[in-house]
Symmetry: C2
Subunit: 328 residues, 2 copies
């Protein structure tokens, strides 16, 4: 059976899946990235894993490999330009290297872009042509789909929604800018806001939860407190909703998107931030009707990246077939 | 000779031009829009003008008509949905109506989009694939070109860069939102900022210029004062530069644009706002190198709209030719 490898390379784990043309996951594995060993070791380990995966013969004919990588990727060249989570990755020609080692055609893209592409193929984006998927986690990633295709931009690494400035004189971001969306609407931002508010005054519900959690404050705990009606915790998610709404309405005015979906750990707090988010969009959208912009939760979870990577591999194969040549 | 009509329908004037496949303007006319007479009268007058234009036979074979209209346009349907400057235009099927009256194939688009498309064909955007043209006038319009093609969005009226929020609790905008880019970086915004600053304290250079201008404060006078070194006037354009920089860097992080160009009356103040604009981009761009984003002045001036409209008409003709059918 014709298949592709869909692979999601993160800072901690590499997820591999064998995926058919309809998007069915036939088999999958997870290996540790061991990013500290550097790009050469990681790529060799990945190549070996692909080879051993296929030796267990199950009648698969692997047509291509799609890779979703956490970092800035020049998709046309198949090069990982830089990655915050992969030590020493700078201008690594990943597609070429992995192709030489395995003999497969290899396509490389950014992981947030591929999560969006996956959601567009089989998830929340199936019925939309132009939308954004925001991954709310420790940081914030974004994948932009325009007219059914991933928008990587002329420099190959567009979609950096987490580093849009929403509060010009706000907190310093890891990227070096101040007031990035990521400083407020990520798990990190939520913890920071709650800490500041806790220093100003008490919140019995939240303090209790922190105690139960071994004195550790996490975004999950703050969300739990907010769902229990804690005022301080709700204040935090209202601010999250307002800055997400501000970002969303600006994107909407500029690009006329049909939908924004949320995935990642913080998407569990969707019901906490969606109200203030909608209010902000309504308040600021006067050209296009605010209700035309749908706000939804991603549905593919952790599989979005591998599925998107598989879809982009299939797209390259299909393009080759249309051009009358055989890829692979 | 094969030609198209490129037409720019504004609130005050309608500009018509006969344009060949290479973009040469063979002849042009300007008529008053008389927008207060409503859409029926304007469309009839335009149809008559096209007919009389062509009766003066010069061997032109008009293949199609491209229209750039100030307002929200559903480009696929050829419908003007709403226009701030054309009285009573609401869901007007302009392409269909004008086509019935003249027999020509008619394509309709937003004027700011067409100005950008024109600059991409023959102007400042010739060597770029993905860029934005901002028209700084009484308001602010934007035309977005992605991968060489105008981005109108799924609802047909994307590119509303003037209504991006840059100062959430700022001035009330005509659109109903507060703190739109247009409230600061348009001619209207500049006059408002200068008025507020003048109320706080004196500025001999600017006050002198206002006197000489019959007590009227205009953006042009403020720019003149700034070029003469007036501190208050320079303060105004520094604020303009900062909000333009903030908008630009957000677009850059999101879309990875290669270039932003400025046209319209306020583009004359380019040298006044470009310094603080570049500083803001440099301060906030840490994913992509700030110098990759070029900032330039449009070069087609008032012809950008008619040329863009002509280009989109030619594109439709060429598409028809490639599909093996004759348009017209």
């Amino acid at each position: 059976m014709d298949c592709v490898f869909g692979i999601d390379v993160g800072g901690t784990n590499i997820k591999l899946a064998v995926i058919d043309r309809e998007g069915q996951i036939l088999d999958h594995r997870k290996i540790a990235t061991r990013a500290n060993e550097g790009p050469d070791a990681v790529i060799s380990r990945l190549a070996n894993e692909l080879t051993s995966f296929i030796q267990a013969d199950q009648g698969w004919r692997i047509r291509a490999v799609g890779l979703a990588v956490a970092g800035a990727v020049d998709a046309r060249a198949g090069v990982v330009m830089v990655s915050p989570n992969l030590t020493g990755w700078r201008n690594v020609p990943l597609a070429e290297r992995l192709s030489e080692m395995t003999g497969y055609q290899v396509v490389v893209e950014n992981d947030a872009n591929m999560a969006a592409f996956g959601e567009g193929w089989l998830g929340v984006g199936r019925t939309f042509q132009s939308f954004l998927v925001m991954t709310l986690g420790t940081g914030i990633g974004g994948g932009l789909i325009l007219d059914g295709w991933v928008w990587s931009g002329p420099f190959g690494c567009a979609g950096e929604i987490g580093h849009i400035t929403v509060d010009p004189e706000g907190w310093l971001c890891n990227c070096g800018n101040t007031g990035c969306l990521e400083t407020i609407a990520s798990a990190t931002g939520v913890v920071r806001m709650a800490s500041e508010l806790l220093a100003q005054g008490g919140s019995p519900v939240l303090e209790n939860l922190i105690n139960e959690n071994g004195d550790r404050l996490t975004a999950e705990i703050i969300a739990t407190a907010a769902f229990k009606g804690d005022a301080l915790a709700n204040q935090v998610f209202q601010r999250v909703g307002r800055v997400l709404g501000l970002t969303a309405v600006n994107l909407y005015n500029l690009l006329g998107l049909e939908m924004i979906a949320f995935s990642g750990g913080m998407a569990g707090a969707f019901d906490l931030f969606i109200g203030p988010m909608r209010e902000e969009i309504k308040r600021r959208s006067h050209i296009l009707p605010p209700e035309n912009l749908k706000l939804l939760k991603g549905i593919l979870g952790d599989d979005a990246g591998t599925l998107g990577a598989a879809r982009i591999a299939w797209s390259h194969i299909e393009l080759g077939e249309r051009l009358g040549s055989r890829v692979n």
